[in-house]
């Protein structure tokens, strides 16, 4: 028998298993579970976009596309960045179509990181940044964010974390799992700390179309002087309910994108062609779909916030994504214990905040990518659970 442990490369072998998985292994053993834990839209991809995919198949357009992606798609992405954010990206040299936003994050990291570099990662956050940084040989450094700051990254936290080795800062807003957003003034303050350094930013803005403030959300690349140091990651999964199509993109300075494209072409060749044609249709004719889904999410978001208020659970108002992140610290148990007992006693599954970093302890992530009826059922059970605690 081979010694697989020795064969495996130490870095991937020693990556910590996801805290979410650990929790769901538990949930799998409980009957009649209501889950509040899935991080993808409950809507189906709008029909006209699905149809564009089918027409692509019928027309036999099943060959590779250019490595960077179909030019009409890159042009549509460039046009979107221009109309939505006033950002200029040359479709030929500054845009790569990726396999979901996740590949974009990986590409950006591998483009600039080398052994020993430090990557600043505001937490709580999506669980992929730290493992991807480690895989690129870098050292992840967690920057805690707090409820009192509405889970926004503060310039003070950033300033004190920067060292000679700092290479990269991740900005993931609207945020998974907190639902936090950064306003323009928050970004300005972050930009002020970065000016004069060589720190590169990955702005993972996959949820940027799902925000509920009166003002539309700004992109970090819009802040003066920041576009030249920013990898902009976005995609179609959340805005157009296209998770399974695996469609994302990476935009940035051509000097960085040129190298990112080399990595992409050697390991991926090109993103799936069928999905790319569907994505063109999404960008051209999908705005109404986004508006419709956003309204529905907003209805659910406000329902949950109101219910938490009625139940006496503090919850800061998340203005983005489709998660709420209530504060459960008053119940005198860890967030993992709270979620485990809630699951066992009332069969409702949510994700403990600690799965998203240490500063998530005391909170839980609840996804509202579920129908209002489903959420109401879950909140009734929460009320029963809280009653049993008191």
């Amino acid at each position: 028998m081979l010694n697989y442990n020795q064969i495996l490369a130490p870095t991937p072998r020693d990556l910590k298993p996801s805290g979410i998985r650990k929790f769901f292994d538990l949930a799998g053993n409980v009957d009649g579970v209501i889950t509040l834990s899935i991080g993808e839209p409950d809507f189906k991809t709008p029909w006209h976009i699905r149809q564009a995919g089918m027409e692509t198949l019928q027309a036999g357009r099943t060959a590779y596309t250019s490595n960077a992606g179909l030019l009409p798609l890159r042009e549509a992405i460039s046009q979107y960045c221009h109309t939505r954010f006033g950002l200029e990206y040359d479709p030929v040299s500054q845009v790569v179509v990726t396999v979901g936003g996740s590949e974009g994050i990986d590409l950006a990291m591998r483009t600039v990181l080398q052994a020993g570099d430090e990557v600043l990662i505001p937490e709580p956050c999506f669980v992929c940044y730290s493992p991807l940084a480690q895989m690129a040989g870098a050292v992840p450094v967690a920057l805690p964010t707090y409820e009192k700051d509405s889970f926004r990254l503060t310039p003070e936290t950033l300033r004190t974390a920067i060292t000679q080795k700092t290479k990269l800062l991740i900005l993931s807003y609207p945020n998974n799992p907190t639902g936090a957003i950064m306003r323009k003034s928050d970004y300005e303050a972050i930009a002020q700390v970065l000016r004069g350094t060589d720190i590169v930013v990955i702005a993972d803005e996959i949820y940027i179309e799902l925000t509920y403030a009166e003002e539309p959300c700004v992109s970090f690349a819009q802040i003066e002087g920041m576009q030249e140091r920013t990898f902009l990651v976005n995609g179609f999964s959340k805005a157009y309910a296209m998770t399974g199509w695996r469609m994302g993109y990476l935009c940035g300075p051509k000097e960085l994108i040129r190298t990112a494209l080399k990595i992409h072409q050697y390991c991926i060749m090109c993103a799936p062609s069928i999905s790319q044609y569907a994505a063109v249709e999404a960008l051209r004719n999908g705005q109404e779909d986004i508006d419709r889904m956003r309204e529905e999410y907003n209805m659910r978001r406000k329902y949950l916030l109101r219910t938490f208020r009625e139940l006496g659970i503090p919850c800061f108002e998340p203005l983005g994504a489709f998660y709420v992140f209530p504060n459960l610290s008053q119940f005198g148990m860890s967030s993992e214990e709270f979620c485990r007992r809630f699951l066992e006693e009332q069969q409702v599954a949510m994700v403990p905040g600690s799965a998203f970093g240490e500063s998530g302890e005391g909170f839980a992530r609840i996804s509202y990518a579920y129908s209002l009826e489903h959420l109401k059922k879950a909140m009734n059970r929460l009320e029963l659970f809280l009653r049993s605690l008191s």
Binding site: S18, V127, L372
Partner: protein
Amino acid sequence: MDNRERVLRHLERDARLEPGNIADALSLPEQEVRRIIEEARADGTIVGYSTLINWDKTDRVYVSAMIEIRVHLQRGEGFDSVARSIGSFPEVQSLYLMSGGYDLMVVIEGKTMRDVALFVSEKLAVIDGVTGTATHFILNKYKDKGITFNVSECDQRVILDI
């Protein structure tokens, strides 16, 4: 799209939504949504609320049919008065004025095919101005009011590690 239209679209999709839910979705004050709904009811924009039922799931015995009607108008008379006569029968579910090869279209429900036949021959055909009818029985209903029937909408999403 103005606020009134947005409110109406939500209600059209789900009549059970509370004004508060619609206000949440549209980021409007609840009072404003209530006012829009009341006004729309008062001026006849909101005509009524009904429940979409798939009767095939029940033991109810019924047939429905779509009937094309050709009308010869009398001097000084419009389609409206003929439509009013036809629409007053309780069997009539919907009634439309059409362009094309015929003038009015009626959807009716009865217990048996004979009921429908009797309705056509004894009630519709004898109305002044009705010159001809063509009855089409409905064999299956796939979609109504934007909602697809007989499709189980189970959640196909799986739990991922991240």
